[in-house]
């Protein structure tokens, strides 16, 4: 837009970082606020799980399926563990694992994506072909095989999911980077004689962050859905570790029993709800973020 008065620019120029964040937040819609608050709560729960949770993660503290009450807020699960505590620890494990996985997949996929976008040529071809192949193999089944090969430890789970996810990240990073690598400042850096490392991490990456961060949010959610499905197929996170996905899978048989036999919400609904709410929250924030970074302004 040619219509932007110098004053306007001045104001923006004089604004401190903190103030601008404050302004940005103040302009955030309700959904974004909701999202951020929820995420914050989850993170707190995850970080301080041992202090918040009334009982231990795998501690058997009562009879099976006790209804919620002062003693057990959400009741107990199939072998008498406190559901509430398991949920809290679940937050820790689920979010922790999902976060590590996503982080790893972005470290690998992102770097490679930008690198290939810069270098092109045979490197690009080679990597792209392999990535295509990996994309063409059904994630679940492939994960199943790899887990069988390397054993179902949490570490392996993270590594394998990260590997499989990184292919998708690679695709995105490469696509977005292609728009950035043609920018003059990248050429300027090349002219200066900068090394690949600098160009990737200082010149290109910072400029493709918005779409990557968005994708990060979504991938993050998909990770624990994938874990849920894996647990359902019998190879996810192994008991007694509390993880929402596995928790839903563990007590899946309860879902289809008439609720009247439960005067309370059946056990699997809590973790499922936990997942749903977090995903919705993240997506709200992501949507808002997208909206801010995209040129589009809504009619005011």
């Amino acid at each position: 837009m040619t219509a932007q008065s110098p004053q306007l620019r001045q104001v923006r120029a004089r604004r401190s970082l903190w103030e601008s964040t404050r302004r940005t937040l103040s302009s955030a819609p309700f959904s974004a606020w909701f999202g951020m608050i929820v995420i914050l709560l989850y993170v707190i729960a995850a970080v301080f799980a041992p202090w918040i949770a009334p009982y231990g993660e795998a501690e058997i503290v009562g009879k099976a399926y006790q209804p919620p009450g002062p003693e057990f807020w959400f009741g107990t699960d199939q072998i008498g563990r406190d559901l509430f505590s398991r949920l809290i620890y679940g937050a820790r494990n689920t979010i922790g694992i999902a976060f590590l996985t996503t982080l790893l997949s972005f470290a690998v996929g992102g770097t490679l994506g930008v690198l290939t976008a810069l270098k092109r040529g045979w490197l690009d071809q080679g990597i792209s072909r392999v990535v295509d192949a990996f994309l063409a193999i059904p994630v679940l089944i492939f994960a199943l095989m790899l887990l069988a090969v390397f054993g179902k430890s949490i570490v392996n789970l993270i590594l394998i999911l990260a590997l499989l996810d990184s292919t998708r990240v690679f695709r995105l990073a490469r696509a977005t980077a292609l728009d950035v690598v043609v920018m003059d400042y990248v050429e300027a850096a090349k002219l200066r004689g900068e090394g690949m490392g600098w160009i990737i991490f200082k010149e290109v990456l910072p400029n493709i962050l918005p779409p990557l961060i968005t994708e990060f949010g979504l991938r993050f959610c998909f990770v624990f859905l994938t874990i849920a499905s894996l647990s359902f197929l019998g190879v996810g996170i192994q008991p007694p570790t509390a993880d929402w996905g596995s928790m839903v899978a563990e007590s899946k048989t309860l879902i289809t029993f008439p609720v009247r036999t439960f005067p309370w919400i059946p056990a699997p609904f809590y973790p499922a709800l936990a997942i749903a709410i977090l995903t919705v929250a993240i997506n709200f924030v992501v949507d808002w973020f997208l909206h801010k970074t995209s040129g589009l302004r809504d009619e005011v």
């Binding site: 837009m1 040619t2 219509a3 932007q4 008065s5 110098p6 004053q7 306007l8 620019r9 104001v11 923006r12 120029a13 601008s20 302004r23 940005t24 103040s26 302009s27 920018m183 003059d184 400042y185 050429e187 300027a188 090349k190 002219l191 200066r192 004689g193 900068e194 200082k202 010149e203 910072p206 400029n207 589009l296 302004r297 809504d298 009619e299 005011v300």
Partner: protein
């Protein structure tokens, strides 16, 4: 022609009073237009002129009762032919738009929908409004194409936007605007994106068609010489306020306000040429091509004297930017050699050593794309320092401060991001970045063409001062003759990859010229309302004569 026009003055068509418009950024509202009055009679052409940010486009759109997303009209009245556009509902406005008020956007390339054929888009409104059935509409459109001197008017409409040149698109868009014979057309910088030679044709076409249908128009531009050709009256805007308003001739002959006077100061800026034989960089018989098929550079030979400025002039596609890429080594030449300080320069970038890289620096046309939006000024200017000279920490910051000072910017800017600077400031930063390397040569690729004229002048003077201080040589790539006059010692005229003419400024700018140089020079708009008329007449005569 103008004299005829005096007669057809009718009643007032558009009446704007006390218009105030605000723009929103990050949830805060800032004034953009601060109370502008404006009135326009039938068949009259009003020129809105001002720098970017003067609010001229905003006013232009407001004249349609439209405010862009993120803008809002807060006060004032807009009466179009008696209809209060501020009070009018979306539906009422929609029926006016396209049929009675039409808009011609700055970049036709972007404003045409890539997915539809030109003809379909041209007749869209006419057909929807039921002004005429499609058959008639198409026929009419073809007629308009013809009047606008579009090549093969019968068929050009069948093409998709990306298949025709920018100048043709701009005219097609004018045809689109004309399709319903509106009472008012808003031209929003319609020729800014065009080459000078193309601009002449487009200007002529638009002027004639407006006259023929005796349509009122608001012509928005930052180029006085251009508006002088189009408008009956000119209104100068600054920071959302009217500076002065007067009939074109008056405005040109005796502008009242100082600001208006400064607007064409740049035209007056002229550096005495001084030739030298101490060649720091010489390009010899260089060929270059991208795909390997088409020669973008064809046997180009250019010499750049130390401490002097060589201007490379040409239209887009003349290969002048390619020359820069060849010299910087991004595009290795397919033939010929480049001598730098007498020694042959390695063809490819990665074969050159750090010091050579340091000695040849480049400044790009658009500071927006040449400054990394995620790096602060400190990093942008500081990087070459630590990269080439290994200056670190406090020492580096001190040097950055000095550089900022040398480009006449306060060191308080050191922690700003490029996005927080004005166009001119950004360009200064890129200059500072180049200087930081203490180069022998700076290649300036259209460095001023994206800037307002006043800012252009500032930048050019800065460059010249720096040249005096550091004895750096400029290879100055531009399409703007005025700039060339201002800064060059020698001039190289390029056309379709070949060097048409080169030599000292005085020699190149003064007749006799080779044909192309002639065309180029003559196409540069002059501060004379009759320039376009006369030029066309001359050319017609020339054709007739030939």
């Amino acid at each position: 022609m103008k004299s005829e026009k005096q007669r057809v003055r009718g009643e007032t068509l558009l009446e704007i009073r006390g218009l105030r418009i605000e723009g929103n950024s990050d949830g805060v509202w800032h004034p953009i237009v601060k109370g502008v009055d404006l009135s326009l009679k039938r068949g009259e052409v009003l020129g809105l002129i001002g720098e970017s940010g003067a609010g001229k486009s905003t006013i232009g759109l407001a004249a349609m009762g439209f405010a862009r997303p993120g803008c809002r009209i807060i006060d004032g009245s807009i009466l179009f032919d008696g209809i209060d556009l501020r009070a009018a509902g979306e539906e009422d406005k929609r029926t006016l738009w396209g049929s009675r008020i039409a808009y011609v956007a700055q970049s036709a390339a972007a404003a045409f929908n890539p997915a539809h054929k030109i003809i379909d888009q041209t007749v869209e409104t006419a057909v929807r409004r039921g002004v005429m059935d499609r058959g008639k509409a198409v026929a009419d459109a073809v007629d308009l194409y013809r009047r606008l001197q579009l090549p093969e008017p019968a068929h050009i409409g069948e093409r998709y936007p990306h298949q025709v040149s920018g100048g043709q698109l701009q005219r097609a868009m004018t045809a689109m605007a004309m399709s319903c014979r509106p009472d008012l057309i808003i031209f929003d910088e319609p020729t800014t994106a065009l080459d000078v030679t193309t601009q002449v044709e487009v200007l002529a076409a638009m002027r004639d068609i407006v006259e023929q249908f005796h349509t009122a128009a608001i012509y928005i531009t930052h180029d006085l010489a251009v508006v002088a050709q189009m408008a009956d009256r000119i209104m100068v805007l600054r920071h959302g306020r009217e500076v002065e308003e007067a009939p074109t001739r008056v405005m040109l002959s005796e502008p009242r306000e100082d600001y208006t006077k400064t607007l064409w100061a740049v035209r007056k800026l002229a550096k005495p040429e001084s030739v030298s034989d101490d060649i720091v960089l010489s390009v010899r018989n260089v060929d270059a091509s991208y795909s390997g098929v088409v020669k973008v550079l064809d046997n180009v030979t250019v010499g750049l004297p130390r401490g002097r400025t060589v201007a490379v002039v040409g239209e887009s596609g003349s290969g002048k930017s390619t020359l820069a890429r060849v010299i910087t080594g991004i595009l290795p030449p397919s033939r010929g050699e480049i001598l730098f300080n007498g020694k042959p320069l390695s063809r490819a970038l990665n074969e050159r050593d750090k010091d050579t890289l340091r000695r040849i620096q480049m400044i790009y046309q658009s500071a927006d794309t040449s400054l990394n939006p995620r790096q602060t000024i400190r990093d942008i200017i500081g990087r070459p320092l630590e990269f080439y000279q290994g200056v670190q920490g406090a020492a580096r910051d001190r040097r950055v401060a000095e550089l900022l000072d040398s480009i006449e910017m306060d060191e308080s800017y050191i922690d700003r991001l490029p996005t927080e600077l004005s166009g001119g400031q950004k360009q200064r930063i890129s200059i500072a970045r180049a200087l930081a390397a203490e180069p022998d040569i700076i290649i300036c690729d259209e460095v001023t063409s994206a800037l307002d004229q006043i800012v252009q002048e500032e930048i050019l003077t800065l460059l010249m001062r720096l040249q005096k201080d550091t004895n750096v040589s400029y290879l100055f790539i531009t399409h703007d003759i005025a700039t060339v006059r201002a800064i060059a010692d020698e001039i190289v005229v390029m056309h379709q990859g070949k060097v048409v003419q080169q030599g000292p400024k005085s020699q190149v700018l003064n007749p006799p010229h080779p044909a192309y140089t002639e065309l180029l020079l003559s196409s540069v708009p002059q501060m004379d309302p009759d320039w376009l008329t006369n030029l066309l007449a001359r050319r017609a005569a020339g054709k007739a004569g030939a």
